[in-house]
């Protein structure tokens, strides 16, 4: 333990480690494979590092080419751990049940939010639900009467000209969430520039005063400004961690780990150690550190209970 203690500089992490169950001291070894979300790549990496510090025998092997790559890998049995930034859809779940005979085990491990960002010099502070839909879509299913494609239509003198739109690529979990919540399931304008990552969206917005875009909360940089969201009553919801944790900010979501766990069986030792870390205060501190939002305390404890992580007699 002393080697770990020396490395833990932040006092909260120190406290968290001391509070961790004593069962951790038991040595577990092996390689843990995970295939899935690229949104969660950094998170998984840091969790993996922390896991190796606790159990020097375990290594996490990560392959992150998108949430959609997790279900096929789980079905084929090439991995037992699938990080996903969206819940599995019906077809993916069905394919899993067909192959294994039981549903995949879903564990929410963190919360994330999408923020609408503009250039840091843009005077805009907040956007209404309908305004956002009228800017990004041409179907306007949220009920706006006409489309918005110039900054003037938002009552701004500066910046002038057309609004330049930036977003994520089709098939990404991020775009799907934005479409479902912000566009009421409608169609994006063809003018939206589609970037292969949230970081690229933020970079594009940061260099252009006329741009607006949406990106994952953890990709915010000083070059851009996150906008608050006004609901139908005119209340502003700012994407701060508290609002995201409570779900007041509508553009938020859970991040999941999917497990291949036959019902009635207990977790294999390596996976148990990993989930124990992820759902511990230290694991959730890593979540916050990377710009995501930690699970509410009650949910974290409920997840631990559901996986029987705290049961002494295995």
């Amino acid at each position: 333990m002393s080697a770990i203690l020396r490395r833990c500089l932040a006092p909260w992490l120190l406290l968290a480690m001391l509070g961790a169950p004593q069962a951790l001291a038991q040595q577990v070894a092996g390689t843990l494979g995970a295939v899935g979300s690229d949104t969660m790549a950094g998170l998984m990496l840091r969790w993996g590092e922390a896991l190796t510090r606790q159990h020097p025998g375990i290594r996490l092997q990560l392959q992150t080419s998108g949430s959609a790559s997790a279900p096929p890998a789980l079905v084929a049995g090439t991995t037992r751990l699938g990080p996903m930034s969206r819940p599995m859809n019906e077809a993916e779940r069905r394919a899993f049940i067909e192959r294994h005979g039981y549903p995949p085990r879903e564990v929410a491990v963190a919360r994330d939010a999408l923020v609408v960002v503009v250039h840091r010099h843009n005077p805009l502070e907040s956007l209404g639900e309908r305004e956002l839909d009228a800017i990004f879509s041409d179907s306007r299913r949220c009920g706006a009467r006409e489309g918005i494609n110039r900054w003037r239509q938002l009552g701004l003198d500066e910046p002038e000209g057309r609004i330049r739109l930036h977003g994520r690529n089709a098939a990404s979990g991020t775009q799907a969430l934005f479409r479902r919540v912000a566009l009421c399931g409608g169609h994006f304008r063809p003018e939206v520039n589609e970037h292969p990552g949230s970081a690229a969206v933020v970079a594009a917005v940061a260099e252009d005063p006329r741009a607006i875009g949406y990106a994952g909360l953890n990709h915010l940089t000083p070059g851009v400004k996150a906008l608050a969201r006004r609901d139908a009553e005119g209340t502003r919801h700012f994407p701060d961690p508290r609002a995201v944790r409570r779900g007041d900010y509508a553009l938020s979501r859970d991040l999941y780990l999917y497990l291949n766990l036959p019902p009635g069986e207990s977790l294999p030792a390596a996976e148990r150690a990993f989930l124990d870390l992820v759902l511990s205060p230290a694991g959730q501190a890593i979540v916050e550190e990377l710009g995501f939002v930690a699970l509410p305390e009650t949910r974290r404890l409920r997840q631990r209970q559901g996986l029987a992580l705290d049961d002494a007699g295995r």
Binding site: S65, G66, S67, A68, S69, P71, P72, A91, E92, D138, E160, G161, R162, R164, N169, A170, A171, S172, Q175, A176, R179, R180, G185, H187, F188, R189, P190, E191, V192, N193, E194, H195, P196, A203, A204, E207, D208, A211
Partner: protein, 407 residues
Amino acid sequence: MPDSSSPPSIRRRLRQGRDRLATVLVTAGGIGVIAALLAIGVFLVVEVVPLFWPTGATETISPQALWLSLEAAGDPARYRWDPTATLGTDEAARVSLVPLAWGTLEAAAWALLIAVPLALGAAAHSALFMAPRLRSRLKPTLELMEALPGVVIGFVAGLVLAPWVERHLADVLAMLVLLVPGLLLAGGLWSRLPPRLQQAMPLGWAGLWLLPWLLLLLVAAHALSPWLEAWAFGGDLRHWLEVRLGLDIAVRNAMIVGMAMGFAVMPSVYALAEDALSGVPRSLAEGAQALGATRWQTLWRVVLPAASPGIFSAVMIGAGRAVGETMIVLMASGNAALMTWNPLDGLRSLAATIAIELPEAGPGGQHYRLLLLAALLLFAFTFLVNTLAELVRTRLRLRYRRLGGGP
């Protein structure tokens, strides 16, 4: 059989065996390449068929959805690529490949428009007029440019060049306006120089002594651009373009893609065209000049036709690379599936779409098969271009065979 004759016969048999082995290997290699190509085609076709032929596994779509306009259905955009749209029961699928094919061709056209004149001009100059010492330095340098990875070019174009051009639009325009007449002026002035000065600045070294002139032109363009903007465009070029011509300017647009991809395509076009031009026997050009033809007439009427098969295949190889190039378009174009003639608008190519979306499309799903259809289209397209290029090249070579030029 006497003992002494056996070593040569063994050696001969060994050599025959080696020959046969080499033949088999070469044949196998050739057949293997063709088989691999066929296998790719067959794989794509097999994967695409369930899109149109109901097999139960994938939802089919009507082929018309791929190219027909949505206008009749009351959609504000005529063509859409939106394969993950949530559709109502009465809605047609929005998976038109038209804007993607358009984007691919538009990007390639701009790239060739920029690369071909520059590359051919450079090739003609370096093959015919340039001093051998300068040429021996320049050619490897240009060929080294070819080794630059597309990702690097795309990154520089998308994150450095595009924002700069957007902020300095008037500068770029002034450069375009000044550069061509400025260079022609340099040529005119040179021919009127006194012979002693001409000897000090020989034509073969024009590549070097034109550099300060080029720099001067760029500085002049930069200095003149505010005047130009104030005089012709009411002080703000962007505003003028928007109000007068109704042109939007996207930061990452077709022009930027054209410039970046032109830069990527140029070295290979240059290298092939240069080889073709320097392959033309010197006696041809010398004969033409001895008969009184000017430099220009020699180049245009004698050397270029003789080298035309090689030059043509150089351009076609450039076109093939421009159509298939992925990373540059992905990073410099903005990937907005638009169909406009405006070179300052974004675009989206087939190759970039496949690169972005395939990793996240579930294998076997409709989206996945649509992307493979796009790949098949791209495959068929490059196949067609290359076949056409080969046919034209063979015919040109037959026609100019007597001149003995070209590979």
